[in-house]
Amino acid sequence: MNLGESIRVAWDSIRANMLRSILTTLGIMIGITAVIAVVAVGQGGQQSIMKEMEQFGSNLFYITMDWRRDELPTGREFTMNDIEIIKANVPELEYLLPCAQTFSTIKSRDKVKTAQVFGTEADYAHLHPLEITAGRFLNNSDCLGKRRVVVIDEELAQELFPRTSALGKRIIIDNQTMVVCGLLKAENSIFGMGTKVIYIPMRVWLDIYPGGSISYIEGGTRSPEEVKTAMQSSVKILEKRHHSKDLYQGVDMEQEIQAVNKVTGVMTLVIGIIAGFSLLVGGIGVMNIMLVSVTERTREIGLRMALGARRRDILIQFLIEAVVLCLLGGIIGMALGIGGAFLISALAKWPPLISWTTVLLAFTFSAAIGIIFGILPANQAANLDPIEALRRD
């Protein structure tokens, strides 16, 4: 009997018990649905994050302090002098920025909001894709002259000044009066997470928050190849100036990407385990129903043997039936999974990524389950004694 015939026979017997077949494949269906949906959403998310990172720039690095160390590194915080010295001594650097942030209340004449007050310098605009819609970003004379100016986003501006433009207006940040010098397009990214960020000159920030300090340094080079050297030189200078080893940590995009991959890797593993169990249970369900089917069709098996079916013909017939059953579940699961992925992604606001490898993998996996869990029943069928089988009713 050729493959086409075997598949037709298998399909006929599955169709004869359609409800039972569908219920049997439920486990596999759910397993495949889960895998497809989660992988598609996960990969879509990963891709979005990667894209955002790429946009952010592969010629960037950060230097932070290692806060995991037991003693508080007081007195060793970054200073504005550090920045100047590093800038002067590391030729690969194109930009080097101090960054600091704290959560504060922001007041206009009659409104109160909260936001992340971010202290930095003019070059920040060169390293990040900020879109100015009115006015300007912080410039060098703002920063060097400690001008009390602030850049806020349109949405916050709208909330603080519902009736007029916020540009040129005074707002009060922690009891300090500042003038709005620029408006940014409202941010809409995964990293944004709804917290508003407002930008002020670094030196102003240090004046307003005397207890605070620069929390990290951001650097940029002309080309991505120079990032590692620039980062290492900068860290060395810091270590020398502050007489401490291992306190300062350089992080570049490569590490960031590895971190994201690690997270998605763990997620994939967890989902894989859950799906694995679901598919295991599904496989056992298929095995169970195939055993029932063999018992129900003992006479048919005996007859086929009497008519000339060899043991391997019977074995293959039941294996194919198990595989077709699993593929039925797998295909329905795939459809549901793809649908689910689009649904979840619509809510999560990033596009799902359905790769051919995932679909192919799910397909192969369902077939493999059919073979693995079909072997026992198929073997049982193939080893029936034709006379005994024919006598059964």
Binding site: E300, A306, R310, P386, I387
Partner: protein, 243 residues
């Protein structure tokens, strides 16, 4: 005449270790090509066991069995399956048609295991269904057919691989007497086309269609009787299967 079946000192013992049943004792017999043989005997006398051995569904405990000149008692299960497929056509008392399949597909079944191509399968199946007069029912399922009609389809299925021999174990056992005669007429017409037929029955009027009757008792062949062809020639033979 070519000898189709040659059995020498065949013994069959079921459950030889625990509770042995000696179902066939030293059975020796020859059946020539084109013969129409009836096997008779009381229940439990080993008729079905003999048919199973003849049909290569079972192997004898001892003795030699040549089918069409080939020694089959030492063959493995795959070889026996091929022999059953190509050389034997079974007809059962309870028809054994697959209920989900149409008559046509039931008849095509043995050809699936012979690797016959689709078009030829259909052509040959239709030819055999024609020989048993069932062409108007090819798309019916067994549940939509009467007992006699089912048995005709089963006979068509037995014929479809051009077997050397037809083995029928009480083919009329479930049928009323009129239908039984119709079925026997089909066997008679097959006999006239020179098909070798071995048929088990315990009814004398059914056995009377054959030219030779083998009588069994307690697993032993006790009488090999040649019937007078002139006395037993059934009058309805001319009609073939089309009644």
């Amino acid at each position: 005449m070519i000898t189709m079946i040659k059995m020498e000192q065949i013994n069959k013992i079921y459950r030889p270790q625990s509770n042995p049943v000696h179902a066939l004792r030293d059975v020796s017999l020859h059946i020539k090509m084109g013969e129409f043989v009836a096997i008779m005997g009381p229940s439990g006398s080993g008729k079905s066991t003999l048919m199973n051995v003849m049909g290569c569904l079972d192997t004898p405990s001892s003795g030699a069995y040549h089918l069409g000149g080939v020694e089959v008692s030492s063959m493995n299960s795959d070889q026996l399956a091929t022999i059953r497929n190509r050389k034997i056509g079974f007809v059962f008392q309870n028809y054994n048609l697959l209920p989900r399949m149409t008559a046509l597909h039931n008849v095509e079944l043995p050809m699936l295991y012979a690797g016959v191509e689709k078009e030829e399968r259909k052509a040959r199946a239709l030819d055999c269904i024609g020989r048993v007069g069932m062409l108007d029912r090819i798309h019916h399922r067994p549940s939509e057919l009467s007992g006699g009609q089912c048995q005709r389809i089963a006979i068509a299925r037995a014929l479809v691989n051009n077997p050397d021999i037809i083995l029928a174990d009480e083919p009329t056992g479930n049928l009323d007497s009129v239908t039984s005669l119709e079925i026997m007429n089909i066997f008679c017409s097959l006999h006239q086309e020179n098909t070798t037929i071995v048929l088990v029955t315990h009814e004398d009027d059914i056995a009377a269609f054959a030219r030779r009757v083998l009588h069994f008792r307690d697993g032993k062949l006790i009488n090999d009787e040649i019937l007078n062809p002139h006395l037993t020639e059934p009058s309805a033979v001319e009609g073939g299967g089309d009644i």
